[in-house]
Symmetry: C2
């Protein structure tokens, strides 16, 4: 092994050994020092390669325990969650936006639960439609923490809440969920599809360290597909 053997080369070789079964599932692989000797490089370089594989779920590493190939690898798929406008423009389609409603209202129970707050709280409820090539693309049904995004101070008439938030609000975490739902009368009307049509929906909760900022359900018009590479 005369070539400088970058960490990527080591990663590739390690991947090959996993794939060919040379390093079999459940088995412990040589420790970093041994591999460093084999590839005649520094241990840190081996560490970089193995850490990278571990981040992708292809290896499991524990102090002292050593590094092993998981018996049942849990593959990880990373999705890029872009602003809806970017998503549409990325398809070379014309983006459109229309605010439907923006008012304070009492949220349903499941939304309230996401805000982990007392009952009788009033949240800012924003409804809007995103268009691609003039046709309804995505229905945005959003609940905002009015203490963070105040009525009157910020309007979503031309810039969507989706975009405004990404640009202006700090976040620290949250969760996202995908599911399928049947179009109810309201959604069907807005998305111009048949009632009962199967729609793809994303629900997302965004928090900062102190409070929940927003909960949103994005319901996509029929035919939407979310893709990622493995």
């Amino acid at each position: 092994m005369k070539r400088p053997a970058s960490w990527q080369a080591i990663r590739t070789e390690a991947l090959r050994r996993i794939h060919t079964g040379l390093w079999s599932p459940g088995a412990r692989i040589p420790d970093e020092a041994e591999l460093a000797a084999e590839f005649s490089c520094a241990r840190a370089t081996v560490n970089r390669a193995l850490r990278s594989l571990a981040e992708d779920g292809l290896l499991e590493r524990r102090r002292k325990g050593g590094t092993r190939v998981p018996t049942t690898p849990v593959r990880k798929a990373t999705f890029e969650i872009a602003i809806i406008r970017q998503d549409i423009e990325g398809r070379s389609q014309e983006y459109g936006y229309r605010l439907i409603d923006d008012r304070l209202a009492a949220p349903p129970a499941e939304v309230l639960a996401e805000f982990e707050t007392s009952r009788d709280v009033v949240l800012r409820h924003v409804t809007a439609l995103h268009f691609a090539e003039g046709r309804p693309f995505c229905l945005e049904d959003r609940w905002l923490n009015p203490q963070i995004v105040k009525m009157g101070e910020v309007e979503f008439g031309t810039l969507s809440a989706n975009e405004w938030l990404v640009r202006n609000i700090a976040y620290s975490g949250g969760k996202i969920g995908f599911h399928a739902l049947a179009a109810d009368r309201d959604a069907a009307g807005k998305l111009e599809c048949a009632e009962g049509a199967a729609l793809f929906a994303i629900e997302r909760t965004t928090r900062n360290p102190t409070a929940t900022i927003t909960f949103v359900r994005l319901t996509y018009a029929p035919g939407y597909r979310m893709e990622a590479k493995l």
Copy 2:
């Protein structure tokens, strides 16, 4: 800054500066050497912290160009794609499996496209049901490359193809897509739901460097939700 300031501490501090707008979107942040001086640590430690943030989409880094805060951050959500059995057992539910069909057949055009092969090819078509607590959970409709997974050599009567493949076949890449679809008569019957019900489906293509190994569509019974943290 007397504490050794681990790379995670630097990451956290950098995150804070992004969130508070101290490092504003689009602006270039101090280079690694400067930050290393500020935190009185080695440049490699700063590098580790900033690289970590860049991997999460919170910073953009380019050689020479320096590091900057993206104006429209593209959040990344990582989903763990587990074996279906693990998914169900992880919910403390009883897993069940039944093979429905396993035969060589001519695939439809859209499947053929994933295999990037000539027409008139015959693939191995496996259909199976996964159960949770005795109720249909997920319908597996899979096309396999018969040169890789040969009829007769491997049977999926008790161990699902889903699981067998994860354990036995090397992969190098592929793609995954999520969408919603309406239950057709066949799916409705197998999943014991109403025809036309909105179902969540995952389509996955898995390749090795040489050929496509398998294409699978997993159609989940109504109510399924796929979740991830942000």
